[in-house]
């Protein structure tokens, strides 16, 4: 018996076909993974199922009966709930208040808060998602907020849950706990659809999967016996290299960048606490950590955007303390900012204007203060070809490019002046598999040239895959620093949460 059948769904936005004859069948009580790259049409399809968009053609059956969903209210009526990537919670309310919002238990015209707390507590216990109903939502970590969202869905008696990129914001430990919750829901007979582009997670948790690519249905199958590499190729539509071609480097190399006792305070709070790190030539040093543990400030100190209260930074043995961002760029420390929109680029600038940003004073781009526009355009054309940046021309505005192509341009810019050290922060965030693969290749190639990289990433798989050495940062302190082979991903996650010994609390990953 199918809980959901979507047949031949077509959805067009203007001339763009987001869903082109897509069919999706999900059995009752299973976890179904809807896979695809950004822009594959996953979210559009789910928004149709949730009643946010109407399909241009096609039919939807829920529990075997044809339905016409005109709004989310209709979807909720049929027992469908959707948990969005960005949580829809009221921070200033308690867990119970959030969960019952919209169908509050009441006594006369008064809101019965005690009753709400009781119901929410019972519901949580029944589904293995217990949360203190009287806790304020703003005090909860992200992983727990997600549980509140799921509780909300259950409170509204949903049998079908749609989760949009549910693990994007979670730490590895939280992901494990989240999977336990999903299994529990399955045991209770609930049907779950997770929208994701993460293959590992799909293989780990889902029963069945459907792959979409460029708005089209590619395949649907059981997860059992599926091969990660094949699935990736189906998703991207071509061969994907999973292994990176890492050249062996001699053991002892010169030190490129050295941090000594870096300490930094912000509003009297210690943000960086006595950080010392050495970066060798020919090495990728991964900085792992839950976001907000000082990574941003560490990058700002190295790139000269802020100056530490204590400690020194040296490049090739020379002190560069108190240097401006401009001087540090000139010295050969390039930077891929963690937020490409905010720091990495000017969205209303053309591609070539963005390509020279930070290096615009170089003599091959200008003469006596006047930009050599023709030359820069020509260089840009070559870069567009070399890096496979998809655009119409050098005069495109940055904001007209997809995230992956913007990131390619930023990486091309950072590598253009052959720096000694590259600070790569979240280099593949929000980027398609195809582009991720390409960016990883570029980073490894740069390292293989004997250059060095500090890689800051929230994606542990990426850190594990690219790094030679990993340092874990927790509350502004480096709590572990050793070669990548000496970490398991579980230990790494454990260090990230501040467990000093790196014990694995929630089983092996």
């Amino acid at each position: 018996m199918y809980a959901i059948e979507m047949k031949h769904i077509v959805k067009k936005f203007g001339s763009f076909t987001a869903n082109d004859d897509i069919s999706l069948c999900v059995r009752k009580g299973e976890i179904h993974s809807l896979l695809g790259e950004n822009g594959a049409g996953k979210t559009t399809l789910m928004n149709i199922l949730y009643g946010l968009y109407g399909a241009d053609s096609g039919e939807i059956l829920i529990n075997g009966k044809e339905v016409h969903l005109k709004s989310p209210l209709d979807a909720i009526y049929y027992g469908i709930s959707m948990v969005h990537q960005h949580f829809m919670l009221v921070d200033a309310l308690t867990v119970a208040e959030n969960v019952v919002l919209g169908s509050e238990p009441h006594r006369g015209i008064r809101f019965n808060y005690e009753q709400a707390c009781k119901e929410v507590a019972e519901l949580g216990e029944a589904y293995g998602l217990y949360i203190d109903p009287k806790e304020m939502v703003k005090n909860l970590p992200v992983g727990v907020k997600q549980r509140v969202e799921i509780l909300k869905a259950l409170y509204h008696k949903s049998d079908i849950l749609i989760l949009d990129e549910p693990t994007a914001v979670l730490t590895p430990q939280e992901v494990n706990e989240f999977f336990e919750v999903l299994k529990h829901l399955r045991a209770m007979g609930k049907t779950t659809i997770i929208i994701t582009h993460k293959l590992k997670e799909t293989i780990k948790i889902a029963d069945t999967l459907t792959i979409l690519r460029k708005g089209r249905f590619i395949l649907s199958r059981t997860v059992k016996g599926a091969d990660e590499k094949e699935l990736a190729e189906q998703m991207v539509g071509r061969q994907v290299l999973f292994e990176v071609d890492r050249k062996e480097m001699p053991k002892q190399q010169n030190i490129a960048l050295s941090l000594e006792g870096i300490t930094y305070y912000k509003r009297k709070k210690v943000i960086l606490n006595d950080i010392s790190l050495d970066l060798q030539y020919g090495e990728i040093l991964g900085i792992a950590g839950v976001e907000g543990n000082g990574q941003t400030e560490l990058i700002e100190v190295i790139t000269g955007l802020t100056h530490p209260d204590n400690g020194t930074v040296s490049l090739n043995g020379e002190l560069i303390k108190e240097a401006s961002a401009r001087r540090i760029l000139d010295l050969g420390i390039a930077h891929i900012p963690e937020d490409r929109g905010a720091r990495g680029s000017v969205s209303a600038f053309t591609l070539w204007e963005n390509y020279i940003l930070g290096y615009h004073r170089k003599c091959n781009y200008q003469k006596r203060g006047i930009l050599d526009v023709r030359r820069v355009r020509n260089i840009m054309k070559t870069v567009i070809d070399d890096f496979g940046i998809r655009c119409n021309s050098t005069e495109n505005l940055m904001k007209e490019l997809s995230g992956g192509n913007q990131q390619k341009l930023i990486i091309a810019r950072a590598l253009s002046q052959s720096p000694d050290v590259l600070i790569a922060a979240q280099p593949t965030r929000g980027v398609d598999i195809g582009a991720i693969e390409y960016i990883h290749e570029q980073l490894i190639r740069f390292r293989n040239q004997g250059k060095s990289i500090i890689l800051i990433s929230a994606d542990l798989d990426e850190i594990m895959k690219l790094s030679d050495r990993i340092a874990v940062i927790f509350e502004g302190k480096i709590v572990a620093d050793r070669p990548v082979s000496m970490f398991t991903i579980g230990q790494l996650g454990s260090y990230m949460l501040g467990n000093a010994a790196g014990e694995v609390a929630n089983g092996e990953f």
């Binding site: 930077h335 900012p337 905010a342 720091r343 000017v346 969205s347 209303a348 053309t350 005069e395």
Partner: protein, 349 residues
């Protein structure tokens, strides 16, 4: 880039047309004939050689004021103080013009313009200093500085620099400082070429020089500029100074080319009109040239409309305000455009 430019032009023109349409309704409410009124206005603006001169002569200070606004805007600061900087610059030119009678014409004019530019630039620089050092909002400071400038210059013109006679004005500048008229007995003088030159230089600096590139990056995304090693504070000073200088030179051209002395309140509201010009010109130098001529024509035409139809010439402020309202709410114009193109699409489909 091309498409967004095109849509800006569309919004500007659409706003102007909508404003004319609404004004026509208001004229109808006043029981006049809009056709007659606009006819008179058009005649007053373009009907004869002299009306052309009035249009372009009025456009000249508006070009300077509009450019002043745009220069600061490009660096992400809002210089609402054009009015004060114009007044300060005009006074500086009037004073510099009174002395140095023996100097060659070109040198004397340049000295007057420099004095005005420096005075206007430094006046605007006060706002930049307060913004950088004390993080005080430049919009408020420049508005306040407008009042200070007007009253301070009024004091000067009524006391130390007052010419003999009843009116509060300075003495005539010496002949060597006068910018010649293009058409005799009209406002139109060779200052308009200076205004056009400033617009073209501004365009070149913005698009082709490192300074313009850095200035725009600071205005569009200060964090990314900081990341690229560009000092935002430096560009707040540069942009404010240049903006004030251009406004000040605009004031000087009014003194040297039109009045030949400074008279109290002679530049009324050019500074504020500059905001409208810059907004309708989409902050681009070429756009400002065009929109200054449009506003110049409206102003020049308004007095003729007043003579022919008894609609007060102040009515033009209503029209001007409507243009700004429509430019500032592009959604209104865009909706109209979408409706038109949708209708077309349906017919084609």
């Amino acid at each position: 880039m091309e498409s967004s430019k095109r849509s800006n032009v569309f919004i500007s023109i659409g706003s102007l047309l909508l404003a004319l349409l609404f004004s026509a309704l208001l004229i109808l409410l006043l029981k006049y004939s809009p056709i007659e009124a606009y006819g008179a206005m058009f005649k007053g603006a373009f009907g004869s050689k002299n009306s052309w001169a009035a249009t372009l002569g009025t456009a000249t200070p508006l070009i300077f004021a509009g450019l002043a606004m745009a220069i600061s805007n490009k660096a992400g600061v809002f210089n609402i103080g054009g009015e004060g900087q114009i007044v300060v610059g005009a006074m500086a030119a009037a004073v510099a013009g009174q002395y140095g009678g023996g100097l060659p014409k070109i040198i004397h004019i340049v000295i007057c313009l420099l004095a005005a530019g420096i005075a206007g630039g430094l006046w605007a620089g006060i706002a930049a200093l307060l913004k950088v050092k004390m993080k005080i909002n430049e919009v408020i400071v420049t508005i306040m500085l407008n009042y200070l400038a007007v009253y301070f210059v009024n004091y000067l013109v009524m006391n130390p620099f007052k010419a003999e006679g009843m009116t509060a004005r300075t003495n005539y500048i010496s002949e060597s400082a006068v910018i010649p008229s293009i058409i005799r007995n009209t406002r139109l003088n060779y200052g308009i070429f200076l205004a056009i030159a400033v617009a073209l230089i501004f365009l070149f600096i913005l698009k082709r020089t490192i300074m313009g590139y850095e200035l725009r990056s600071v205005g569009l995304n200060p964090s990314a500029a900081e990341n690229a090693g560009i000092a935002a504070a430096k560009y707040i000073y540069i942009a404010m100074f240049l903006s004030g200088a251009v406004a000040g030179i605009g004031g000087a051209v009014e003194v040297l080319g039109v009045h030949k002395y400074y008279i109290s309140n002679m530049t009324v509201k050019y500074g504020y009109d500059g905001i409208a010009v810059s907004v309708m010109g989409g902050n681009s130098p070429i756009g400002i040239l065009i929109s200054a001529v449009v506003f110049g024509a409206l102003k020049a035409g308004a007095s003729n409309m007043n003579r022919m139809t008894h609609i007060p010439s102040e009515f033009i402020s209503v029209l001007q305000a409507l243009v700004i309202i429509f430019v500032a709410t592009p959604a209104i114009v865009r909706r109209g455009k979408d409706r038109i193109s949708k209708g077309k699409g349906k017919r084609e489909g």
